[in-house]
């Protein structure tokens, strides 16, 4: 039984039918990469799963030994509280709050994992009193990932964490993702194929608002022709 089952997910944004029946499953453990060209609906898929955009269809959560839960009828904060951490595209840190306040806001109970967060991103400890809006893009990404890792979330939805980052920071974020994958099941939207090759265990490819391929990561990524055909890039390249 899959941990997350997305069935026939539809999203309309204005006149645009962005998701046209997206269906896929995420197995427990590892990193599932949600891939596709720009504008095919990857970010919208994550946002729809969390109820951040109006949607129709089914998103079921099935923890081992627990009863399955339908998420589509629940409001966003309740979906998150079922154990999902979310790292949004463009970070969405609260610019007017300090780094400490950004993290404190994310605390959901008394078991916040500050040791883990500071071990992964020591810089956040020294910059605790700094306004998040004055951080560099890479530092803001650290805050965004730290917020998701702070709670013991069995699932992480991570949207383009390396977007716009310098190569050194991409490596650091990829290492953080690897560590996160040891602690949680990760659904990752990522354009950087090098990062995908490093961390992904399975892939789901979206095109034109629908899923066109899903399976083990190696099966797709080891075939440059298929990567070229499905993603419009050369395998192993950096878009």
């Amino acid at each position: 039984m899959a941990l997350i089952s997305v069935r026939d997910l539809h999203v309309y944004l204005g006149e645009s039918h962005v998701l046209q029946g997206v269906s896929f499953e995420v197995e427990e453990g590892g990193v599932t990469a949600l891939l596709g060209r720009n504008g095919v609906g990857k970010t919208t898929t994550l946002r729809a799963m969390l109820g951040l955009v109006p949607r129709r269809g089914s998103v079921r959560l099935q923890f081992k030994g627990g009863a399955g839960e339908e998420l589509v009828r629940a409001p966003t904060h309740q979906i998150i509280r079922r154990g999902i951490g979310y790292v949004p595209e463009d970070r969405d840190v609260f610019a007017g709050l300090t780094v400490d306040e950004n993290l404190r806001l994310a605390e959901r109970n008394g078991n916040a994992r500050y040791e883990l967060v500071y071990e992964l991103f020591p810089e956040l400890k020294t910059r605790g009193a700094q306004k998040a809006g004055t951080l560099s893009g890479g530092q803001q990404q650290m805050v965004a990932i730290a917020r998701a890792l702070l709670n013991e979330n069995p699932i992480l939805l991570v949207d383009e964490p390396t977007k716009g980052l310098a190569p050194l920071l991409v490596t650091e974020v990829a290492a953080a993702l690897e560590r996160a994958a040891e602690l949680a099941t990760v659904l990752l939207v990522e354009q950087n194929l090098a990062v995908v090759q490093r961390v992904a265990t399975s892939v789901v490819v979206v095109d034109g608002g629908r899923v066109v391929h899903s399976g083990p990561a190696r099966e797709l990524l080891d075939s440059p022709e298929r990567v070229q055909a499905m993603l419009g890039v050369h395998g192993g390249g950096h878009r």
Partner: protein, 292 residues
């Protein structure tokens, strides 16, 4: 010199009232995107409940005013909280409908107040010491002006501390910046909505109490007339900013007083010109979209 001092302190007293109305209005819009045209009605209801309660309790004018004010604030908070729960929440993200509802509610509450207590102004319970004057640099200033200023300063400090040091304050400050991301952290931001509405209602009711003291009477149109200036204050200060609202309220109160005196009654026009100037030079307001 004495005239200038008098105008300044009177302007600050007026600015204090504008701040009390505008702070709730600003937080409500900053957090929820709701233009609450019923906010003035919270002020009117708060003032009337204060007056009505004061006529039904014993003791001197000071006790009457204090007990009445507590009742007025409680009713203001309760009314505003109920309005959010019953009328605003079902219209979340439907801004046009929200505006229509709050305008309709303002009209309905105004009519209700008139139906219950009539259209005539009612004398407010004002203790003698508030009517007495204190002489500063040759100017005889009514003591109630200092009460109004002190109340606004206390509310400003209290709101700032609340926003800075409490978890609810943290949620509100974050929500003003990015409401969707707050919910994506697992926080039920709707509770903050209700709290901000109730808080805004209580502070508007306090403005109603102080306006009763300032003018000596309370009338059904009080909230509406002050709300117009409160909106101007919010636009100048920047939606969602308590600091910006405070600065803008002081500026509007002072400009209005000075212009009224030195230009023979063009105070309201001067305020509108100030608004136009800010919109031209800094359209987003003095301190936009950050609750601090």
């Amino acid at each position: 010199m004495s005239t200038f001092v008098l105008l300044t302190i009177t302007g600050l007293g007026l600015g204090a009232m504008y701040f009390l109305i505008a702070s709730g209005l600003s937080l409500i819009y900053g957090l929820m995107g709701v233009l609450n045209f019923a906010h003035g009605a919270f002020l009117t209801v708060g003032a009337y409940v204060t007056w009505w309660t004061s006529t039904h309790v014993g003791g001197g004018p000071g006790v009457k005013l204090l007990v009445g004010a507590l009742a007025g604030l409680a009713v203001g908070a309760l009314l505003a909280g109920l309005v959010e729960l019953v009328l605003i929440r079902p219209l979340y993200r439907r801004h046009i409908e929200q505006v229509l509802v709050t305008v309709g509610l303002a009209l309905a509450l105004g009519a209700l107040v008139q139906a219950i207590w009539g259209v005539d102004a009612r004398a407010f319970p004002v203790p003698d010491w508030m009517i007495d004057t204190t002489t500063i640099l040759g100017a005889n200033i009514a003591n109630d002006r200092f009460v109004e200023i002190a109340a606004a300063v206390l509310v400003f400090v209290g709101l700032t501390a609340f926003l800075r040091y409490t978890r609810f304050g943290l949620i509100i400050r974050a929500g003003v910046e990015n409401r969707a991301m707050v919910t994506a952290l697992g926080i039920d931001v709707r509770r903050a909505f209700t709290l901000v509405f109730a808080l805004g209602g209580a502070v508007a009711a306090l403005a109603g109490v102080l306006s009763g003291v300032y003018f000596g009477v309370v009338d059904p149109g009080r909230g509406t007339s002050l709300l117009i200036f409160a909106f101007i204050v919010v636009v100048i200060g920047g939606f969602g900013s308590i600091g910006g609202t405070a600065v803008a309220a002081v500026a509007v109160g002072l400009v209005q007083q000075y212009a009224n005196y030195y230009t023979t009654g063009l105070g309201d026009l001067a305020v509108v010109l100030l608004l136009a100037l800010v919109l031209l030079l800094k359209p987003e307001g003095l301190a936009p979209k950050v609750a601090h």
